[in-house]
Subunit: 252 residues, 2 copies
């Protein structure tokens, strides 16, 4: 049997999923993706994502790879077949044909996350699934200065939540904090790979700097403590989007 | 017992409601509002809205009036009490104290609806609850010319769906069709009052004009037919927002 490997660029509204990863009996992004693969192929096909996302966290550029015996299928046809079989809160933006050894997890050169904070005094009913409503003013310049302490390679054990036995040394290549709309701040975090809840712990900490309740310098102290319990807070999941993964192999 | 009448300006994401109006055993906007009133007052209080919205239709400026025996409560305190008792897909933007005879239904001088159409070739997962995804190009100028036929006082029987025994003569004071974002068209319809599904039938018809499948002139013919079955289509609920109600009594 000739097999072809595909990589799909997938968006999803994470609100109604129990996270990305397969969990028996629960509605997950990977589970729904593999259900669609099953409907197309008539047998079970496993898949691999570029990164896990927690319950309530969204995807814009998640990348999911899988093998198919439908070797005559064009990538665009596979894309349309997947979209015809996915629920309305998931959408495949592109499908690429990739090398048979391609792994989105290991081939990823960079991962980019976006976090949206809405600072208006009133909540916005129509954005509530996609922002952290935090109705206080934030000193963006102070947050930017604090973020500089996180750039580069560090032991990020203090910024990790839950069970995660992997090496805690990670590299953050960029953090940009911009006023995306009058009342919405976007924190864009770029790195090679991330620990569990690392972005939400970074955002939670930077927000505390933004309100003045934690000093800019303390961010370095949190890092060197290697101790999660020193951190002032974790940002809630709904503001976070797994925005983009960068590979050498193709344009996402 | 001294009673005070209040009018609340209410936003809601209509996706998970069975419309505005009370229906036993179903999750409705009015039902959730009256549940919040019950929790605050410890007894049942009935309410009146400025207009009904169907399942999936949203509110930004719905107005709901009710009487309260908590006559010492300031309007802002009532607002906060309601918000503390409403689900996350409803939000009271303002509360006004009004005259004891005020009726949002009969006092309304103007009602404004917004309808959002997304014309990009790709859907937007994050907007899907609030737009009609219609991935075709629309001739906005032609739609504007067609809309002129609907302005003023007409018998709108052809633009009504379902049971509605009321007088079908209605007045539309303005229709504006604007490019709200590069791929989103906003149709804003202002009138004094509307028949059941009237805005969605107007939008469905204008979109058919925009694609060229129905002529600009035929809009007048639909009107004068007084016959719903002549209409080419109804727009789906999720693009519609009950945007604003205008009263002489207070600023909404």
């Amino acid at each position: 049997m000739i097999m072809k490997r595909f990589a799909a660029i997938v968006s999803y509204d994470g609100t109604d999923f129990f996270g990305f990863q397969n969990q028996p009996g629960l509605r997950t992004v990977q589970g729904k993706f593999e259900e669609a693969l099953h409907r197309i192929h008539k047998f079970c096909i496993s898949s691999q994502g570029a990164g896990r996302t927690d319950t309530g966290v969204h995807g814009f550029g998640q990348v999911i790879a899988f093998d198919s015996n439908l070797d005559r299928l064009e990538a665009t046809t596979m894309r349309d077949a997947l979209n015809a079989n996915l629920p309305s809160d998931m959408y495949v933006r592109k499908v690429h044909e990739v090398d048979e050894n391609f792994s989105p997890r290991f081939a990823a050169k960079k991962r980019i996350y976006h976090y949206y904070i809405q600072t208006s005094s009133e909540p916005d009913i129509f954005r509530r699934r996609f922002v952290w409503w935090f109705p206080y003013s934030l000193d963006i310049k102070s947050m930017r200065r604090a973020a500089v302490n996180l750039l580069g390679e560090h032991d990020f054990a203090a910024f990790r939540t839950g069970k995660d036995d992997r090496n805690p040394v990670r590299t953050i290549t960029a953090i940009r904090i911009i006023r995306y709309k009058p009342y919405i701040i976007l924190i864009r975090v770029e790195g090679i790979s991330f620990l569990k809840r690392m972005v939400r712990n970074i955002v939670g900490t930077l927000v505390k700097v933004g309100t003045g309740s934690v000093s800019e310098e303390s961010v370095s102290e949190f890092l060197s403590s290697h101790d999660r319990s020193t951190l002032p807070g974790t940002a809630p999941p709904q503001g976070l989007v797994f925005y983009k993964v960068i590979f050498d192999e193709f344009e996402t």
